[in-house]
């Protein structure tokens, strides 16, 4: 599931709540059907986490990591970690201080994948990485979700990443979920109508989810099925759906 929203919308707060890193005021959170606080330790055995930066002290080396992690995760697998170290071509004797940002992120991803987690939670894990590293990492995530028991919850500003790997998109705005739907349904359901102001009046207001004026006319995010025949509706990208919905929420 891709988790999108502008800065300050509540993406990282949601992830911190899921991981019980901050106090919740109300409500409850269930992961694998269990309460995230009372079963926190058991749940976290099956969760791999990647934040927007590597959180290992910079004096450590990757050859230290298995020695540490096998005492933390009951299902830690040295062989899987070694496989990812080779795949990502990470030097094992170099202190993390000498790793590039891409190498550090690959390392934490290798850790998240080396204890047979069923759920990966990624908080802006691909931000700040060059397209080549991002592509390499996204391929690893795609491999991970080939197993039907595996899921990824990924928050990102990079919508193209989400379009590549997410089956569902959840959009948060000012702490409220504006939509949470299958990506294919979203792309099928919504479209961009480019027309004149008069043409737009012929469309039911309920079908228009957001609009903006340009010097060439009006662009509107519409529900495709409710647009009268004769008007041309272009496919909408996830980014366009998000932008129109945010603008509409501001009105």
């Amino acid at each position: 599931m891709g988790f999108i929203g502008e800065n300050g919308a509540g993406k990282s707060t949601t992830i911190k709540l899921i991981l019980d890193l901050i106090k919740r005021n109300s409500g409850d959170i269930k992961i694998f059907g269990k309460d995230n606080i009372s079963h926190g330790i058991n749940i976290k055995e099956d969760v791999g986490i990647v934040f927007d930066e590597s959180n290992f002290p910079e004096t450590l080396r990757s050859c230290d990591v298995p020695h540490i992690m096998r005492h933390i995760y009951a299902n830690w697998d040295d062989a899987v970690f070694a496989k990812y170290m080779r795949k990502f071509e990470l030097p094992s004797k170099k202190p993390f201080a000498k790793y590039s940002r891409g190498m550090k992120m690959k390392l934490v991803i290798a850790v998240a994948l080396s204890h047979h987690a069923k759920l990966l939670i990624l908080d802006e894990a691909t931000s700040g990485l060059d397209p080549i590293v991002r592509d390499e990492i996204l391929d690893v995530f795609l491999d991970f979700i080939q197993d039907e028991e595996h899921s990824i919850f990924i928050s990102s500003h990079i919508i193209s990443d989400l379009e590549k790997i997410a089956d569902y998109i959840t959009f948060i705005h000012k702490g409220q979920i504006l939509f949470s739907e299958s990506k294919d349904d979203l792309l099928d359901k919504y479209g961009i109508l480019k027309c004149s102001a008069e043409d737009l009046e012929s469309v039911s207001p309920a079908a228009v989810l957001g609009s903006r004026r340009s010097q060439f006319g009006i662009e509107a995010l519409v529900t495709r099925s409710q647009v009268p025949d004769g008007l041309v509706v272009d496919p909408a990208s996830i980014e366009e759906i998000m932008l129109f919905r945010v603008k509409e929420a501001h009105v």
């Binding site: 019980d20 926190g40 540490i68």
Partner: protein, 208 residues
């Protein structure tokens, strides 16, 4: 807990060589000046600095947030810092014993075996007290904002001694001082445990 302790030990791998050099330097310095007693103070200052340095690494890398996203409770996370502190304080006690008994052999006129024991245990107790004060402070304010307080707390006994002697307060008897020195580490155990509880309370209210 073992994973966290290993993480701390691996993190300070580079420091070990520097520390070894400093220990040798302090010992030579104390012996050349014929002031073996001061070596103990320097030694404990060196060893109590280790967990504080490790906390600085953790804070910079936001390790605590990451660790709490793993199957690690706050109790274990906080407890590991107290355990690592105790490990280094014990190492410092062993080094102090060795250095002080070496001093007894080299400077029999300056230090007796009884002084060597008393000094080592008293300094160990002082180290435990310092750690007990500083860890909750660091959990509350973070390492950067606690730096000034670290110096104040370190200098506090001297300041207190100066104030009390100016105020004309009588020094405790030699017997009282000796008893306090011998039992300092044991007396500090409840303080150490209380400090751990306080740190846990602070961490339980903290957002990561």
């Amino acid at each position: 807990m073992i994973g966290l302790l290993l993480k701390d030990l691996f993190s300070m791998r580079k420091q070990v060589a520097v520390m070894g050099g400093l220990v040798v330097f302090y010992i030579l310095f104390g012996f050349i000046l014929k002031q073996p007693a001061m070596v103990s103070g320097m030694m404990v200052a060196l060893f109590i600095g280790i967990p504080l340095g490790l906390m600085s690494y953790d804070e910079t890398s936001k390790w605590d947030r990451y660790a709490l996203s793993m199957p690690i409770s706050k109790k274990v996370l906080i407890g590991s810092k107290y355990v690592i502190s105790l490990i280094f304080l014990t190492v410092s006690l062993l080094v102090m014993f060795a250095v002080n008994f070496l001093s007894v052999a080299i400077f029999p006129d300056k230090m007796t075996p009884e002084d060597a024991c008393m000094l080592s245990l008293a300094v160990m107790g002082a180290g435990m007290l310092y750690t007990s004060i500083m860890l909750p402070v660091i959990y509350q304010f973070g390492i950067e904002r606690s730096r000034f307080l670290m110096i104040v707390v370190f200098a506090a006994p001297l300041i207190l001694y100066f104030i009390l002697s100016k105020a004309g307060v009588d020094r405790p008897s030699l017997y009282t001082l000796k008893t306090l020195a011998y039992f300092a580490p044991v007396m500090m155990i409840p303080v150490f445990l209380l400090s751990a509880c306080l740190s846990l309370f602070i961490a339980s209210r903290k957002e990561y």
